[in-house]
Symmetry: C2
Subunit: 336 residues, 2 copies
Amino acid sequence: MDTITIKDIARALNISTSTVSRALRDSYEINPETKRLVIEYAERLNYHPNSIALSLKENRSRVIGVIVPQIANNFFSQAIDGIEAIAYKRGYHVIIFQSQESYEREVLTVQQAVARKADGLLISLASGTLDVAYLRDLQEKKLPIVLFDRVSKDLDTPSVTADNFAGAFAATEHLIQTGRRRIAHLTILPHISITQERLAGYRAALEQYGLRYDENLVRYAGLGQYEVEPLVDDLLEQSPDAFFSASDRLAIGCLAALKKRNVAIPETVSLIGFTNITVADLLAPPMSTVEQPAFEIGQVAVDQLISLIEGKQKMPQPNLIKLPTKLMVRASSQIG
Amino acid sequence: MDTITIKDIARALNISTSTVSRALRDSYEINPETKRLVIEYAERLNYHPNSIALSLKENRSRVIGVIVPQIANNFFSQAIDGIEAIAYKRGYHVIIFQSQESYEREVLTVQQAVARKADGLLISLASGTLDVAYLRDLQEKKLPIVLFDRVSKDLDTPSVTADNFAGAFAATEHLIQTGRRRIAHLTILPHISITQERLAGYRAALEQYGLRYDENLVRYAGLGQYEVEPLVDDLLEQSPDAFFSASDRLAIGCLAALKKRNVAIPETVSLIGFTNITVADLLAPPMSTVEQPAFEIGQVAVDQLISLIEGKQKMPQPNLIKLPTKLMVRASSQIG
DNA sequence: TTGTAGGCGTTATCAT
DNA sequence: ATGATAACGCCTACAA
């Protein structure tokens, strides 16, 4: 694509590039007449400064690298929405990378983001990532990094998540208060941060209400499409009277499995809902949800990152920012 | 972030930057010993060439600008997934922009993408976009552009969509074949390409089966959250015996409205389904779907774009590429 | 086989 | 008020 540069303007107007540059930047030490001439001509030719040249000169790209396990996921696409909205307003653009839940790909894409000279990184860790040493290295090289959603306590950097503990507590408590006693918990990969926080919330609620924690009522689903059904079958053998699922995908899979088996339990299913679609309203019987503020998590995370990048970290922010979840009770019937 | 450059290596090894450059690019005209030295040292320091400097030099960024109405949308996030996957493999990165369904924002973001020196643009038009003249201008300046999903016949450039006509035809035909005669069509904004294609498919199917097209059975929903219910009410006054909805959002909204009103029609609802979630399986009564290949649309579109960028447009490709949809019959009962 | 110089587009510094 | 020059990091003629 042919573009016009400051040189073209200089040549056409028989002045030097420095004058053009100054005129365009509205320097005070320039003849108003020259200024007018330059600006008019530039507008007529639709001149825009070459941001690549600027990046090279200023040694910063105004690009934020975002690394997520996968884009095609309600939670992450909403988070990216929030990220893009704020980044745009503050003069940054967003390059998206997918780690595909793989540690190796994550390392590669982070390298790529660094090679692209991203000014900072916004990362939600892949489920395969157990070791964040490679991020610590980058941090020591002064690369601003902010984690969101899937965070790690092994990296001392601002991290933004939903309050998964409180959300899981509220969900479990709700089920207990409507009379359930054997609450099954269907969740995702055991070692990632959000799973552990949710599990802790679930356990805390059980404990507070004097219910015993039974690990037979907990199942961890991998990433496969067809993993949910057998797990639900497993859990059914424990005769639960409620399900608490840790994600949309699991909740829907769980409901589908129950429906297929014609089991009457789902009246009591609850889940961490990432979306605000009205699907939950449609499901019969209805299901309560815990809504995660995905959009806001993205916004806060990118705000943190830009503060780091621009060295504005004014007040010493708490390192782990937890955004509130919201329990949405769609329907509930007392039992027992 | 402090990075090491070719200069650092040159200084450390007491050679010139050109030698370092050549050694790293594995030039044949270089002393194997020097080469080894340079490469070893570079690896030890984890040297990576500055892609911004490269972009400036080569006058290309290896960045693809993607402009979508919104990211947090099943269809678009799946398409972006496909785009990112292919782009990554071919050495490109993806910068995401949202037009928020607004023409003005679209123009702005396209400008930004151009200012960012994107090598090419992948655009799904905002519903507010009626005039693509500004894109034609860019095209004349040799900027490669590919449209996908929401395309425009006013721009002569490769365009990739689902075969909306065939999909709508199949959906309507399915409903007719199971005995419906008054098929309501709930669709989106009237002027965008996909709406028109779907409407045409709907009409063609009616015609083929000797049913009269009745515009009272068609309603156009805007972008608002709460627009669907009143439209459904409207349609109910026409006593339809089936619904054909043009999107997930509409189908779900429609089902929810029907359920709320305790209307027994939904047994026959069908929709263009963008997702492969099992929600459809859960809904009672079940609903058939027409699946759109969002991921593949993204893949094909970016492939087209990269071909344009790299000037490889070997065979004169057909300008409008339509990818097949798939009718998924979840359940159907004959009536009448 | 290696070094020197120029240029990609821009701006800051130092003249004039 | 304006111009010449150098520099950001890299590559590549051209020279040695």
